[in-house]
Amino acid sequence: MSILDSKIPEGPLADKWTKHKNDINLVNPANKRLIDIIIVGTGLAGGSAAATLAELGYNVKAFCFQDSPRRAHSIAAQGGINAAKNYQGDGDSTYRLFYDTVKGGDYRSREANVYRLAEVSTNIIDQCVAQGVPFAREYGGLLDNRSFGGVLVSRTFYAKGQTGQQLLLGAYAAMNRQIGRGKIKMYTRHEMLDVVIVDGKARGIIARNLVTGEIERHSAHAVVLGTGGYGNAFYLSTYAMGSNVTAAWKAHKRGAFFANPCYTQIHPTCIPVSGDHQSKLTLMSESLRNDGRIWVPKHKKDVEAIRNGSLKPTDLAEEDRDYYLERRYPAFGNLVPRDVASRAAKERCDAGYGVNQTGEAVYLDFASAIERYGKEQAYVKGLDTEDMKVVTDLGKKVVENKYGNLFQMYEKIVDQNPYETPMMIYPAVHYTMGGLWVDYNLMTTVPGLYAIGEANFSDHGANRLGASALMQGLADGYFVLPYTIGDYLAHDIRTGPISTETKEFDEAEKNVRDSIDKLINNKGTKSVDHFHKRLGKIMWNKCGMARNEKELKEAIKEIAELREEFYKDVFVPGEQNEYNEELAKAGRVADFLELGELFAKDALERNESAGGHFREEYQTEGGEALRVKEYQYVSAWEYKGQPSDAVHHKEPLEYENIEVKERSYK
C-alpha cells in the first residue's frame, strides 16, 4: 500500500466533485476574517486563487518576484484556453475533454482530477467574460473557437495570440479589486526562499526583498505555491528569464514530495537557436498548426541547396516536399500532440533533412492557408478567384487577423517575412508536467502547503495538450483550491494569528541567511550563467527529447560534479543587502543543479516511454512511444539530503472510465 493518499472521493466519476464539495468542511464568513493565507506567485493560478480567496473573506498575502503581479509568465501564453462549451456543436462534452486530456497525457494522469478539470472548464469562460476579458468573437457577436493539437473538436477560446495576457490581466484586475479593498496585501519584488513548518504544518515563509535585500518572515495558516514550472533547468527555454524552481524546491526540501520530474514538454514550434549568445527561445503558438503545414525537403540535394542559399523553399515543387506529419499521422495531420510533433521533427533533422545552417529546423508553411482563405474571401466579395494577386492579398489579411502578432514577433527576431517565406521552427523546452505531488485537494505531502497550476503535477500526465495550461491554472485558482482549502482551514478557526517569533522561524531564517552568505562569500572565478549554461547543455543533450540509460547515468554524474564545482568556483558580485540580480540568479541555479539530478534519476527509473518522456530503448517499430504497463504509476520523490538519496514512492494509477489503449493519432 502506498503512503501516498490521493484522497479521491468515492462514487461515480461524474459525481465525485459535486459530492466532495457537499461533504467537505466550510469556514463561516466571520471566521474567514481570522485566517491568513500566503500565496506565492501571481500567474494564472496564484493570481486567480489570491483574488478568489480574498473575495471569500480570507486575509491574503501575495508574493511575486516581478515588479508587478501582471508580469508573471502566464502573460506570455499565446494560443488559447480549452473549455467543453460545445458552442460549435461539433460533439464536444465534458467527457470528451476529459478523454482527450487523459489520452493526450499518455495515460499517466489521475482520472478524477482530469474529470474535475473538464467539468469546471466551462465556468472559467463564463467568469472571464464577466470580468471583461475580450475573447475573439464572430460577426454575430458570439465567441469564436479554434482547434488545438490532439483533439478532433474546436474548443479553444482565444484572444489573438495573446490569450494568456488577457486572462492574466483578468486575474490581475480581480486581484487589484481586492488589493484596493485591503484584502490582499501584495509583496512585489519578493522571492520566497523557504517554507516554515510548525508542528508539521506549513505556517509561513521566509522571503527576500529583492530591492533592499532584507530577509523577511511572513506567517499564515496555510501556504499556497503557484510558482510555475522548472523548464529553465535547460537554460534555453520559452520560460521567462526569472522563472525558477526555487519555491517548489525549498518546499520539497521541507517534506513535499516531487512528482514525475522527468515529464517535460518540448514544444514543436519555436524559433530555432541562432547562436551561443542566445538567452532564451521564443514560442510560435501551436494555434499556427491550424493553418500552417510542416515540411522538409524530400531529397537531400534540395536540403543542401536550401542550406547554401541556392534554392528558395518557395521554389521547391510540391512533389519534392515531405509533409511528414500529414504522411505519418493522416487522422490528425499537423495537429498531432506536441510530444509527437516534436519527436517527428527531431527524427527528420537527425536524418539530415533540417533546413537551416545548424541542421535543426523544419518549415511551417502558410502558403496553402493564404491561398485557401484568399479564394474564400474573393468568392464572398465577388472577385476573380483565379487572380492569384487578389487571392494572396486577401488571404494574407485573413492570416494577419488571426496570427498578426505572432508573425510580427517572428519577423522581429529572424528578420524574415513569414507571409512570403515559410517560418523555420524547431522544438524547445516549454512546460513541465511534473511538479509537487498533490492530492485531490491540491495539498502537498506537507499539511497546509498547497501547489496549484504548473507547480503541481496532477492533470497533464506525461504530456500536456495545447491550451490546457491556462485551463488548469485558472481551474485550480478560481474553482478548486478555494473550496478544498476551506476543508483544511476549518480546523484553524480558533488557532489565532501565527507568531513569527518562534524557533521554527529562527531556524528557517538562519538557513536562508547561511545559504546567501555562502554564495556571496564564495568569491570564485566563474559567473552564475557559466554554470547555468553548462547545466542546460547536459539537460538538453542527455535528458531532452530522447533519453537512454547510458546517457542518463552520465547526466546524473555530470550534474552532481557540476554542482560541486559550482559551490567551489561560483562568483557572485555585490552585496546581500542591495538589489543584486546575480545573487538571486545564483540561488535559483543552485536549486536547478539539485533538481536536474533528480530529473535524470526519475527518467532513468522510468523504463518506458510515455508522452514527453521518450526512452530510446522503449519504442515501437514505427518509432512511437512504448508504454509499459508496470509503470502505470506516479513517481513521487522524498527528499533525503542529496538528490541521489531521494526515496521513490509510487501512486498507482487506475483507469475505471477509460480503456487504456495504445495512443494512436494515425
Binding site: A76, P134, L142, Q162, A174
Partner: protein, 248 residues
C-alpha cells in the same frame, strides 16, 4: 560589431547617478539588445565590477518589464517593439548608444536602469476592474452577444503591457494613454457599463495623485507604444470622464 555604450549608473534611489562609458566588442547583429547587455554584464562580472541592473523577464515583448530609453527613445529606434525584441542589426558597427532609465517623477529610479512603476498598479487598483466575484454561477459566456467591432477594439486597448513607454516618451510624463487603455477596454464592453462612472473618476484621480503630468495631445505616446495603443483611447476616456463628471 564594436560599440560604445553610454549607460546611466545609479547605485540606489538616493544616489545622484551619472553616465558611464563602456566599450563592447564582437557583438553579433543577431543578438537582441538585452543579449548585448548580457555580454557586457558577463565582462563586468569577470572583471569583478558591478553589472548593470536592468529590468527584463519574458524577453518576447509581452510582460512589459523591460524599460530602456535608448538613444533618446523608449525601447529604442524601431516602432511597435519592446527593448527585448530590438535586435542589434538595427545598429551599425562603431555606433555610440545612450541607455537610460524611464524618466518621470512617478517612476523613481531603483537602481541603474530600473525604475519603480508601482504607481501604475495603484491606478489599476483604483478602478481597473469589473466587480464580479468568482462563483461558478455567472451567466453563460454567450448570453450577451458583443458586436465584433467593439470586441476587437476592446481587445486592442487591452493589449497594453504596462511598460510605461508612453510616460517616458511624453514631455509632460502623462499616463493618459495607459489609463485610457483600461478605461476604453471596459467602456467598449457591456460588462463594463455598470461601474463606468466611478471607474474613470477614480482612475483619473489616482493618476493625478501619483504625479503624472497632463496630456497636451502631442501624440508621442502613441508613436512609441510597443503595442500601438491608439490615441483614440484618450479621446474616449475624455468623453467618459466628462460624462461621469456631469453625472457627479
Amino acid at each position: 560589431m564594436n560599440l560604445t555604450l553610454k549607460i546611466w549608473r545609479q547605485k540606489d534611489a538616493n544616489d545622484k547617478g551619472k553616465i558611464v562609458d563602456y566599450p563592447v566588442s564582437n557583438i553579433s547583429p543577431d543578438m537582441s539588445f538585452l543579449e548585448m547587455l548580457d555580454v557586457l554584464n558577463q565582462e563586468l562580472i569577470e572583471k569583478g565590477e558591478s553589472p548593470v541592473a536592468f529590468d527584463h523577464d519574458c524577453r518576447e515583448g509581452i510582460c512589459g518589464t523591460c524599460s530602456l530609453y535608448i538613444n533618446g527613445r523608449a525601447h529604442g529606434p524601431q516602432t511597435k517593439i519592446t527593448a527585448c525584441q530590438l535586435h542589434m542589426r538595427s545598429f551599425k558597427d562603431g555606433d555610440t548608444i545612450y541607455i537610460e532609465p524611464w524618466r518621470a517623477k512617478a517612476f523613481p529610479v531603483v537602481k541603474d536602469l530600473i525604475v519603480d512603476r508601482s504607481s501604475f498598479d495603484r491606478i489599476q487598483q483604483a478602478g481597473g476592474f469589473i466587480s464580479v466575484n468568482t462563483s461558478g454561477n455567472t451567466q453563460d459566456a454567450n448570453a450577451i452577444p458583443i458586436e465584433k467591432e467593439n470586441a476587437d477594439k476592446a481587445f486592442d486597448a487591452a493589449t497594453c503591457i504596462g511598460c510605461g513607454a508612453c510616460v517616458a516618451s511624453c514631455k509632460n510624463s502623462s499616463a493618459m494613454l495607459f489609463v485610457s487603455a483600461k478605461v476604453s477596454q471596459f467602456a467598449l464592453l457591456p460588462q463594463g457599463q455598470v461601474e463606468a462612472t466611478s471607474r474613470v473618476l477614480n482612475m483619473v484621480k489616482q493618476m493625478d495623485e501619483e504625479g503624472f503630468g497632463n496630456c497636451t495631445n502631442t501624440g508621442a505616446c502613441e508613436v512609441e507604444c510597443p503595442k500601438g495603443i491608439s490615441l483614440e483611447n484618450i479621446a474616449r476616456m475624455n468623453r467618459e470622464y466628462l460624462a461621469a463628471s456631469l453625472k457627479g
